[in-house]
Amino acid sequence: MPLLINQKIVENDSWQLVDIEALEQLQDLSDADIQGDIIVPLAFYLEHRDQLLSRSGRLGLQVNGDDDLAALYAEQANVALIAVEFPTFRDGRGFSIARQLVRIGFAGEIRAVGDVARDRLAHMQSCGFNAFLIPEDRFSEEDLSAFAEVSVNYQGTVADPRPIFRR
C-alpha cells in the first residue's frame, strides 16, 4: 500500500500495524516477540499499556470514530503516531479526530488509513493528517496532484489556521 508523506511516496514505511489476533497469542509484548515500530489498536493498548510502553521500539495507536477519544487524547504524549481509520468512504469522523489531535498539541504523525483515496486527500491534509496510506488498487501517480486541485479555501487549515477574512 503506497504511503504518502509530504506529497511524496515513502518507500520504506518503518511502521507495522500488528494484527490483533497475533498480539493476543503472545505471552509477552516485549521486544523479543515484536520488533520495531508498531501500531496497535487503542483498545488493546489501554489493556496492555505498561507492557507496550516498556518496549524500545516506537509505538503508534489506531483509532476510529467508535473509540474512546478522550482516552486517546489522554495518551497522546506516549505515542509517536496515531492512525485514524476511515472505515467507509462516507464516514467523516476522522476529519474531526485529526482536528482535535492537532488542537491538543499532538506533534507526531497523523496517518489516514482505511478508505483513503484521492478525492479526500486535500481535506484530510487541511484537517491535520500528514501521512496517507492508500490501498494499492485505489492508488495512481496522479493522486500526488490531488492536494492542489482546489488552490483556495475559506476556512483555516492546520498549516494556516486563519480563515480567509483574517489573511
Binding site: R93, F95, S96, V150, Y154, F165
Partner: protein, 552 residues
Amino acid sequence: MYQYNEVDQTLVDERVEQYRDQTRRYLAGELPEDEFLVLRLMNGLYIQRYAPMLRVAIPYGLISSEQLRKLAHIARTYDKGYAHFTTRTNIQFNWPKLEEVPDILAELAQVQMHAIQTSGNCIRNTTTDPYSGVYAGELEDPRAYCEIIRQWSTLHPEFAYLPRKFKIAVTGGAEDRAASQVHDIGLHLVQNDAGEIGFEVLVGGGLGRTPVIGKKIRDFLPKEHLLTYLDAILRVYNLKGRRDNKYKARIKILVNALGADEFRRLVEEEWEYSRGGELTLTDAEIARAKSFFKPFDYDANAAADTSFEQQRASDSAFNTWYERNTVDHKVPGYRIAIVSLKPYLKPAGDITDTQMELVADLAEKYSFGEIRSTHDQNLVLADVKKSDLYAVWQALDSNNLARPNIGTLLDMIVCPGFDFCALANAKTLNIADQINERFDDLDHLYDLGDIQLNMSGCINACGHHHVADIGILGVDKKGEDWYQITLGGSSREDASLGKVLGKSVAADDVANTLEKILEVFVEQRQEEELFRDTFKRVGIDPFKENVYAVAH
C-alpha cells in the same frame, strides 16, 4: 448582492475542473460507483427515476438577472426548456446528461454560480427570508450573515462527510418565512437587554420521517461568535451523530437522544476551544459582508405617484393581483411583488426558459436587477415602484406568472413526486391538478383566507407536508397511491407539526376530502378567522367527524 472576488471565482472554477476529472474517472471505470455517488451528490447531481437531476445553488435565494438568464440558457441548451424551484430556494434541472454536467457547471461559473453542496451529507444552501432587507420589522438584513455562513461552509474540509445532510436557516427578526424551526440549525437575529444584536440559536429541527421542531440552545449569541459556535455544533454532530442508520443520522435524533441540555453542554465544552479564536468574526468582515446588501438607491418621489391608484380602480384584475400577490415594502411608494409559480394545472415551482428570461428582464427594468426565490416555490421582485406595478403585472400576466393565488390554498408547496423522483411512493402532480380543478373559483379561495397546503410524495417530506395548515402525504398501498392528510401544522413563528386526520384517502378522493375539511372550517370559523386559528380553537375532532362520517 454579493459579488465574487478572485478567491471565490478561483474556487468555483477549480471545483468545476475537479468535478470534470471525477466524472472522467468515473466514466473510465477508475472511480468506483459508490464513491462517485457521494462525490456527484456533493455537486448536486442525483440519478432520478428517468434521468439525472442537477440541483443548482441559489445562495439564500438571491439571484441576478444575468444569472437567471444563464439558467434559462442552460434549460434550453442542456435540458427540456424548463427547471424547477425547490423549498431550499435552489433550482433543479430534470434532464441533464451526466457527461454534460461539467459543461453546465462551467457555464454556471461564468455567472458566479455553482452546484456545490446542493446535495449530499454536507452543509447545504443556507436559506433566509425572501423579504430580507425590504420589510419593516427586521432587526438587520440576515443575508450578510448567510453569505458569511456560505463562505465558511463551502468546501469545509472537516464537515464534508457528516452523518447526514445539514441545513441552516437565518431570519432577520421575529417573523419567520424561512421555516427556521424545522432546520438542523435555525438562527434568529434578536436584540438583548443591552440593545446588542445577536443570534438566538435553535438546533435539531427537521422534517422527514421523524419531524421535530428545533430546540433553543442559546438565547443570545453575540454576532462575532457566529462561526465559532456553528463550528462547535458541527464538530459535536460530526463525531457523535449516528452513522449506523441513515434514518437516524440527522442531528435532530442526536439532540433528542442526548436531550437539549446535554447537547448544549457538549457544544459549549467544544466551543471553549475556539471561542475568541481565529474564526471569531471581525468587525471588518461583518462590515464587508453587509456592504453587499445595502439598501438600493430608492426614488424619494416614488410615493407621490397617483397613476397607480387609478390603475387599481380601473382594472379589477390588476387590483386583485395587487391585493394577493404584492406585499408592503418598507420604503413608501414601493411594493414587494410575488411572481406566482403556481399557474393553473402546471407543476408548482416549474418555470420555462422564456419565463425565466421575462422575469430577468422585469427585474432589470423594475427591480434593481435582482430576483429572490422563496421557500414556497415562488419568485419575488422585491423592489418594485408602485407606479411600475401595472407594467410588471401585464408582463407577468401575459406569461402565465400572475395567477393571483399567493397565500391561498392553491399556493401549494409540492415536491415532484413519483413522476420524477426515485424515492417517491406516490404521484403528487396529478393530485395538485385535481385540487386546482376543484378549487378554481378564486373568489371562494379569497373568502377562505390564507391556507397553506403542502404535499409530499413520500415520507422524506420534501414537500414539507408536516408544517402546513393542510398537509398531504402520498403513500403506497399495494401498488396504489393513497394520501394521508394532516391538519394544523405550521412552519412560521408558531411552528408546529400537523396532526393526522385519520386513515388515508384514495387518489380520486383527495379534493372531496379537502372540501369536507373546508366545510368544517367555514362552519366553525368565527368572522375572518384564519384556518390555523380555527383549528387551534376547535381541534381535529370536528374535521375527523365530517370527513369520516358514515354516509346514511
